[in-house]
Each structure stands twice: as C-alpha cells, then as structure tokens.
C-alpha cells in the first residue's frame, strides 16, 4: 500500500512538474537547478527528515517512496519532452494547435511510454527504500519483521520474509506492466523494456 500510494503520487506529481518546467519557461528556470541539486541525494538520506517531519507511521514511508521516484521522473520527463520528434510538433502546429493542445494531445501521449519504463525501473528502488524505512522507524511492515528476526537470531523467519519481499516485488512489476498495457495500448512490448 505504501509503495503504491507513494509511486502514484510520485509519478503524477513528477510528470506534472516536468511538463510545467517545459511549459512555463520561468518556472523551469526557477526550479530546475534545485531539482538537479536534489536528485543525487539518496532517498535513505531523507529518512531522518521524513521521520522528524512526519513522525512514525505510514506517511514517512510514502514520502520516501515519493522522493525516490520524483526527481528521477522529473528529469526523465524533461529528456523525453526534448526528444519528441520534431515532425509531430510541426504537424500539430500546422493543424492549428495552441500551446495547451500541443502539450495535451501530442507531447503527453508521446512521452508517457518512456516515462512508464522509468517508473518500472524505479519501482524496485522504491520497494527497497520502503523496507529500509520500515526497518528503521515506521514501526510495522516487512522491513520491521526482518529486523526483529535478525535481533532474535530467527534465521528461518529472515529467509521467509526475504522470499516474501522478492515475490511481492515481482507481483508489483507484473501489476504495473498490466496497467501499462491497458493504458498505453499503442506501444508494443519491445518499446517498453520487455515483458
């Protein structure tokens, strides 16, 4: 649940943010340096901040997932937008598209497939971050169980939980793939990093 909410927020927020950077030049000039500065900071480094801002509970975990995908997807959105084929933009402009229509009807559908690949690649990173967050301070969840098992030398519980984590991660990836195939029906599997 934490991963899903965090991913969804991160994805939507980041794509909107990225598009805004290219849509409003001033907004881009103001925020882009900050984004570039914050991107290399490991999500784990945000953990203490997450806990002392949001306390113990679900929110810091969601926040960490959000952080771990947000900046990457913002940057990916920018590079995807810059790589939209010039002919698409020419066609739209000749058809009389306004700037708003150009972004909504041409640029957004062109960049979404590539962004989904980025999202899937970062899913695993987000998944790991959540486990660390749980192990350190959220107070519940699989990460907490692994830590507890470690502290009580219960090796079979450790292995069991690790298996569970692997399986859940796999299931998540499949689920995301299904969503992708439903929403982005026009892209074949080859263009989106395989099955």
């Amino acid at each position: 649940m934490r991963v899903v909410v965090g991913l969804a927020l991160g994805f939507v927020g980041a794509v909107a943010f990225g598009i805004a950077i290219r849509y409003y030049r001033i907004f881009g000039l103001l925020t882009l340096p900050t984004v570039t500065l914050l991107t290399p900071i490991s999500p784990v480094a945000w953990l203490p901040i997450a806990i002392f801002v949001f306390g113990i509970g679900d929110v810091p975990a969601i926040f960490l997932v959000f952080i771990s995908v947000f900046f990457v997807i913002v940057l990916s959105t920018l590079s995807q937008i810059d790589n939209v084929p010039a002919s698409y933009i020419h066609v739209a402009r000749i058809m009389g598209a306004t700037k708003h229509q150009l972004f909504r009807h041409v640029i957004l559908p062109t960049v979404l497939p590539g962004l989904f690949v980025t999202l899937r690649l970062n899913l695993f990173a987000a998944w790991m971050v959540v486990l660390i967050a749980e192990a350190v301070g959220v107070g519940s969840g699989l990460g907490q169980i692994v830590m507890m098992a470690r502290n009580t030398f219960n090796s079979s519980l450790v292995f069991f939980t690790m298996t569970l984590i692997g399986l859940l991660g796999y299931a998540f990836d499949r689920a995301l793939l299904t969503v992708q195939n439903k929403v982005l029906w026009w892209v074949g599997p080859a263009a989106t990093g395989g099955r």
Binding site: S87, Y88, I94, M95, V187
Partner: protein
Amino acid sequence: MKPRITVNKVRKVWNADTPKATTAIDGLSFDVAPGEFVVLLGPSGCGKSSLLFMVAGLETQTEGELLCDGMPITGPDTERGMIFQEASLFPWLTIAENVTFGLKLRGEFPEKRDRVAQDLLMKVGLADAGHKRPDELSGGMRQRAALARALAMQPKVLMMDEPFAALDIQTRAKMQDHLLQIWRVSGASVLMVTHSIEEAVALADRIVVWTSRPGRVKEIVSVDLPRPRKPRDPAFIELQRRLGDLLADEVDRAFREMEAAV
C-alpha cells in the same frame, strides 16, 4: 490572376550572427497561382525544404517577403497544409482519428469528424482502414493517410516535402496518380519538393529549378504536356533531359564546393 503564394526576394541565413552562419537561400522569387501545381527541383541542401517550412510558417525568413493571398505569412495556418517525407501519424490514434486530428483541435463534433474521415479515406483509397493503427499500414498507405489528414483542413495550399521519397518505385507511381486526382478535385495549389526529375515532369504545371547553395531560381520551366503524361512520350523524355542538364551543372558545383570546404 492574383497569385496564391508570393515569394519575393527571400533570403534565409541559418545561425545568423554566429561564425557558423550559412546562407541557405538568397534572393529567391517566384509565385504560385491558385490551383497550380509547382514542383521545386534542385540539388540537395539548396534550401528547398527551408522554403517550405517558411511558407508553412514554421520558420521565418531573414529578409524578403512571403505572402499568401497578398497577406504576409506570420505563422502556421490551417489553410496551408503540409506533408512530410515521413507520414508522422500519431501512433496512439487510429487512422480515422489521425485524419481528423485538426478538426478535433478546432472543436468539431464527433459526428462531423466521422463523416469527414469516411469521405477522405474513401478518396485516398483507405476506406477500410479507418479503425486501424498506423503501424498496421504499409508506408504508402501511411502516406495516403497523411494526405487525407492534410486535406481534412481543406487547405488552399498543400506543401509536400519529398512525400514519396521513402516509397518504392511502384508505390510511388500509384501515389502520384492518387495525388493528381485529389489535386484536381480539391482545387488547392500544390508546392512540392522532390529530387526526382521524372516525378517533377510527371506532376508539375511549372518546375522551379534551383541553383545550389545559396538557393536561387535558376530557371522556371513550364510543363505543357497533357495529362495523363506518359514517361515514354518523346516530349516527356526531352524535357527530362533538359532538366537533367540544368541540374547537372548545379550538382557539380555543389560537389566542388563541398570538396573545397573539407
């Protein structure tokens, strides 16, 4: 008759005010009458495509005037349609949706869009392909869909940037027939760029032969042969030969300059 498109002493410099400045077009003048089929023929890199982009309103000229119906061209307009070498249909839309993309932007109702799509796809011989996706069609079919998409806006001028260059010879000949039929019915002026002398002679009312860079008008050749034109007709061959001679000088010059620059 008043010209539809006027190109008057147009000059285009790429990367102006930098050390890399190159003059693509210099002092180019000609015009296109309403309903006329004009082909631009010249060595590659002489700025033919640049001119099309300027007439389309996607680029601006450095100097000179570009007029459409006597009004300066300031930006893209739906009355000036354009077709590119690649069909560049949007892969997330069906063929019919691609064809009516411009109507949708304009806010036309779905019923009207369906009707227009049906009608145009019939005209370009793709009546059954409306619900298909672009990647299910062959190159020639995609290019016909792009033609239908441009026609949907009922343009007064149709610009084509080597529209058939990526197609094989048989498909090309077919496409030329299609194009002539559609052009005759639509009444639009056509401004087409090509490398192929044969294509130019087969299609054009007038052929504007360009010099190599910087592009200027070398000669304007009227083609008075009756349509349909037969490539084996002696007059056809004679004209082809004459254009070939005109171009050969320019191509030689372009090569010499390129080699000198290396």
